[in-house]
């Protein structure tokens, strides 16, 4: 059964059909929210709100774009709104414990502890550089590399042309690379 069929049934009040849509798209929705919020708790709340809002606005879904794109657009707006809240800002300032676990990475990775430590250091440098990006570049990079969204979908979500999204991703990569070079992670300088 296609998304359009499920949407039609959900419009008639079939909650189970909408539940099927939730199951199909929750991962994409969650990742989009996480790209904007970087906090799993906030991302889950935003994802729930997005599905709730989508259910209420099913009547306004005209089918010009795919249901997934429409849903991701709602999700992105919800996430951006939530990103502006004070609590969310605070949560992003305090990094979750899951992100900083260097010793576990060292133990689990690589052929030698030295290489694993170097790689872990590099990844931490990359993470810091990504966090330091401007919101537009960071959003484009994270959405593009999340693996769930095409450039076209990202363009619709963010409200920018595909070319702009591609440029942002490329620019974000360039800036991250440059920052790593300045910090001595690369031999290029």
């Amino acid at each position: 059964m296609t998304d359009a069929d499920l949407v039609a049934r959900a419009r008639q009040g079939d909650l189970a059909a909408f539940g099927e849509l939730v199951d199909r798209h929750r991962a994409s929705v969650y990742r989009a929210a996480l790209a904007a919020l970087r906090s799993p708790a906030d991302a889950e709340d935003a994802a729930q709100d997005a599905f709730l809002l989508a259910y209420r606005r099913l009547g306004s879904f005209r089918g010009d774009a795919s249901f997934k794109t429409w849903l991701l657009t709602i999700t992105w707006h919800q996430a951006i709104n939530r990103r502006r809240s004070l609590t969310s800002v605070w949560r992003r300032m305090v990094p979750p414990k899951t992100e900083v676990d260097a010793m576990a990475n060292v133990a689990a990775a690589g052929p030698s502890p030295e290489q694993a430590a170097a790689q872990d250091q590099l990844r931490r440098g990359v993470r810091d550089a990504i966090r330091a990006l401007s919101p537009k570049l960071r959003d484009a990079l994270l959405l593009a590399l999340a693996g769930d969204h095409s450039y076209e979908e990202i363009g619709v979500m963010v409200g920018a042309p595909v070319g702009t999204i591609k440029w942002r991703v490329s620019e974000a990569r360039r800036i991250v690379r440059k920052q790593l070079q300045e910090r001595g992670f690369s031999d290029d300088r």
Binding site: V22, T98, L141, L145
Partner: protein, 250 residues
């Protein structure tokens, strides 16, 4: 047709002992994926929560709006409350202070509630000529000064207010005596009662006014003479011959 974002590793070139571009790009890919790959959302649980909220009719949470809008309002309301409370406490302290010092406290000017200037001046005038009221230890009661910018649209100081202030300078010593001495003795009270009695205006014995009846002289008007009737003769107008004129203009 959709285009997928490119991965890393298309410009790999090792130049030394540090990370190559390819390694950095690969690290960017991995880290970006990690940053959007948090703990998995439990499938059935997530679906159950969403559907439960739909059935309950919950609205999407918009707490951020409430926080951004209500916080400044709450702060402003708190400041206003604090100012009012502080002012009321200050007024209370001042009035208590004056009461303790035995002053006749004049109510603070609060615009429309203040006594009319005429009333004050009347009281002052009626009290001023009384000899018993004149006392060397009179207290001065000051009405609040005019605002710096004056009143009303003219922005001029209220001159009537000042006049009142000048007139109402003296307050009978009766109240002062009774209040300044905390241990009021019966003698003081007696003196105060006498002074109050002295304040009463003496009754005036006036002879009733008599008014003579008015006599009015009749007004005589001369009779108007009617003029003789004028006869107007009808005017006979002979009709003009327009033929020549009409011919000229045609």
């Amino acid at each position: 047709m959709t285009s997928r974002p490119q991965g890393a590793g298309h410009r790999a070139q090792r130049k030394g002992h540090g990370a190559t571009d390819a390694e950095i790009d690969r690290a960017i890919d991995v880290v970006a994926r990690q940053m959007t790959d948090g703990p998995p959302v439990g499938g059935a649980e997530f679906r159950r929560r969403v559907l439960a909220r739909i059935e309950a009719g919950h609205a999407p949470r918009t707490s951020w709006r409430a926080a951004w809008v209500l916080s400044p309002l709450a702060v402003a309301a708190t400041i206003v409350m604090a100012i009012f409370v502080a002012r009321s406490f200050r007024l209370h302290d001042v009035s208590a202070d004056r009461h303790s010092q035995g002053e006749a406290v004049q109510p603070r000017d609060r615009g429309p509630q203040r006594p009319a200037p005429q009333e004050i001046s009347t009281v002052a005038q009626s009290r001023a000529p009384q000899p018993a009221a004149a006392s060397p230890d009179q207290n001065t009661v000051r009405l609040p000064p005019s605002p710096l910018r004056g009143f009303g649209g003219t922005r001029k100081p209220d001159s009537t207010e000042r006049a009142v202030t000048v007139r109402a300078v003296t307050v009978p010593a009766v109240t002062n005596h009774a209040a300044t001495n905390r241990a009021a003795t019966s003698a003081d009270l007696q003196r105060g009662a006498e002074a109050i009695a002295a304040l009463t205006a003496p009754s005036l014995d006036l002879a009733p006014l008599t008014v003579d009846a008015l006599t009015s002289d009749p007004v005589q008007i001369d009779r108007l003479d009617t003029t003789a009737s004028i006869t107007i003769l009808p005017i006979n107008v002979t009709p003009l011959d327009f033929t020549d004129v009409q011919r000229r203009y045609e």
